[in-house]
C-alpha cells in the first residue's frame, strides 16, 4: 500500500452494500483466518476490504424440515452447533468440528473456507460436495445459484465479480461421514479427506479433498458402487473398489507426497463406510 493511503474498511450491513464495495475493488473479509496470513505468504493485505459479519442474513443457519440454509459468514463452530444431531449431516458436522483447531473454528467461516482459492485442504469442500450443496452468489448482475462442484471448479473466475452469500442443502441424506487424515491426531491440515454420504435412494456419494488441488467427487468409485447391490456397503468391498478405481493424482507438498495422499484413500474410504454403517440412518443394512 502506498504511504499515506488509508486502508478502506467497510463493515457492510446489507448484501447490496457489500456488493457495491466489491464492485469498487474491495476484497471480501470473512473471519480473517486466511487473509490475515497473507503478509506471511509475501502478499500485501488488500487496500480495501469489505467485511460481511454485520449482515444478519449471512450469519445464520436456517434448519427447515426439507432444507438447510447456511449463511456464508457462519463460523465452523456455529455450523457444527446448528447441525449437531441432525440425521444425514454427520459428515458436515464432523468437518465443521474437526477443521483446524478450536480457536480457528470459532472465527473461520463457511464462505471463507470455500473461497480460499489456494487452500487444498479445506474440510468443508468435500463435506458439502457429498451434500450436493447449492452455492448462492450475489453477482454484479444479480443472484446466481450454482452446484458446489461447478462452483469449486470455476470459483477463481466467479469470485472476481461475486460474493458467496449462502449455501443451500437439501435434506435428502440419511447418513454421512467425514474422514480426515492429519499427520498428527489433529491440528494440522489433513493430507487427505474422504467425505461419504448415503441418500434416500440408498446411493452412495463420495468426495475427496486435499489429495488434488481442488476437492472433487469420486465419480468412478460411486459408479462402481452403484453397479453393485445396495447391500454392498461393506467396508472391505468398497475399499477394494477404491483401490481399483483410484483415479487421483496426488499433489506433492512439504507435509506429504502425492504417492502418500493417493495411497491412503482406500483405507480412508473403508473407515468412512464403517462410520456410515455406525449411524442410525443406515440401520437398515
Amino acid at each position: 500500500m502506498a504511504p499515506g493511503v488509508e486502508r478502506s474498511f467497510t463493515a457492510a450491513s446489507t448484501i447490496e452494500e457489500a456488493l457495491a464495495a466489491r464492485r469498487q475493488g474491495a476484497s471480501v473479509l470473512a473471519g480473517g483466518t486466511w487473509m490475515m496470513r497473507d503478509p506471511r505468504r509475501g502478499v500485501d493485505l488488500p487496500e480495501a476490504v469489505v467485511a460481511l459479519h454485520r449482515i444478519p442474513a449471512l450469519s445464520k443457519v436456517e434448519v427447515e424440515p426439507d432444507h438447510v440454509v447456511i449463511g456464508a459468514a457462519v463460523t465452523h463452530a456455529a455450523l457444527g452447533r446448528a447441525l449437531r444431531g441432525s440425521a444425514g449431516f454427520e459428515g458436515l458436522v464432523a468437518a465443521a468440528e474437526g477443521a483446524a483447531n478450536p480457536g480457528i473454528r470459532r472465527v473461520a467461516t463457511v464462505g471463507g473456507n470455500l473461497c480460499a482459492l489456494d487452500f487444498a485442504a479445506a474440510d468443508l469442500a468435500p463435506a458439502l460436495l457429498v451434500c450436493e450443496a447449492t452455492v448462492e452468489l450475489q453477482t454484479f448482475e444479480g443472484p446466481r445459484l450454482l452446484g458446489i462442484s461447478d462452483f469449486l471448479k470455476d470459483r477463481h473466475a466467479l469470485l472476481t465479480e461475486a460474493i458467496v452469500t449462502r449455501i443451500h442443502l437439501r435434506r435428502d441424506l440419511i447418513a454421512s461421514a467425514h474422514i480426515r487424515l492429519p499427520l498428527r491426531q489433529a491440528g494440522d491440515y489433513p493430507v487427505a479427506i474422504v467425505s461419504l454420504a448415503v441418500d434416500r435412494n440408498k446411493r452412495c456419494r463420495i468426495a475427496v479433498g486435499s489429495v488434488e488441488p481442488v476437492a472433487r467427487r469420486w465419480t468412478a468409485l460411486e459408479q462402481a458402487m452403484a453397479a453393485g447391490p445396495a447391500s454392498a456397503l461393506d467396508p472391505q468391498r468398497v475399499a477394494e473398489l477404491a483401490l481399483e478405481h483410484n483415479d487421483f493424482q496426488g499433489r506433492d507438498g512439504k507435509e506429504a507426497d502425492g504417492w502418500y495422499r493417493r495411497q491412503v484413500l482406500p483405507p480412508l474410504v473403508k473407515r468412512g463406510v464403517a462410520a456410515l454403517l455406525s449411524t442410525e440412518g443406515v440401520a437398515w443394512l
Binding site: M36, V49, G103
Partner: protein, 165 residues
C-alpha cells in the same frame, strides 16, 4: 479508521489501520504484553483473548472486526489484586508452569472451555487444547490441572446446590 471496543471493561478508541492484528494493538499500543505473539498464524494459541466471551486468536483478528466488541485479555481475567482464576490457581498449585509463555493463551482458551463444558472428560480437555501449543511441559500436567479444576468446581457446586463453573 476509528475503531471503538471494550478492552478489559474499559472503552478503547483507536485510530489506525483496520487490518492491524488485535495482538499488535494489545502489545504495542496498550502494553498488554501478557498476550503473546508467537506464530502469528493461529496455530499456537499464545495470543488467545476473549472476544465477546469466545476464546479466539488475536493474531488473526483485524481490529476492524472488533468494532463494538468486548475484548478481555489475560490481564483482564484477574486484574490487580483480584484472586486468580481457579484455573490459574490450579496451574500454580500443580507446578504446571515452565517457561510460561504459552500459559496466558492456555488460560484464556481453557477458562472459556471450562465455563462452557463443566463435565468435560480428559479426552475432551485434550481436544480443546489442540490450538494451544506448549513446548516445555508435555501437556499432561496441564490436562490434570484442568480436570482437577472441573472436579473441584463440581464438588463445590454440589455443596452449594448445583452451581457449576
Amino acid at each position: 479508521m476509528v475503531v471503538t471496543f471494550q478492552l478489559n471493561g474499559e472503552d478503547c478508541r483507536l485510530d489506525g489501520d483496520p487490518m492491524t492484528p488485535l495482538v499488535d494493538i494489545l502489545r504495542q499500543e496498550r502494553f498488554l504484553t501478557g498476550t503473546k505473539a508467537v506464530c502469528r498464524e493461529g496455530f499456537c494459541g499464545a495470543c488467545m483473548v476473549h472476544v465477546d466471551d469466545e476464546a479466539v486468536p488475536s493474531c488473526l483478528k483485524p481490529i476492524g472486526l472488533v468494532q463494538g466488541c468486548a475484548v478481555t485479555t489475560i490481564e483482564g481475567l484477574s486484574s490487580g489484586n483480584q484472586a486468580l482464576h481457579p484455573l490459574q490457581a490450579n496451574f500454580e498449585a500443580a507446578d504446571a508452569v515452565q517457561c510460561g509463555m504459552c500459559f496466558p493463551g492456555m488460560v484464556m482458551s481453557l477458562s472459556a472451555f471450562v465455563r462452557d463444558n463443566p463435565h468435560a472428560s480428559r479426552p475432551e480437555i485434550k481436544a480443546a487444547m489442540v490450538g494451544n501449543i506448549c513446548r516445555c511441559t508435555g501437556y499432561e500436567r496441564i490436562v490434570d490441572a484442568v480436570a482437577d479444576c472441573l472436579d473441584q468446581a463440581r464438588k463445590a457446586g454440589q455443596l452449594a446446590g448445583g452451581i457449576h463453573v
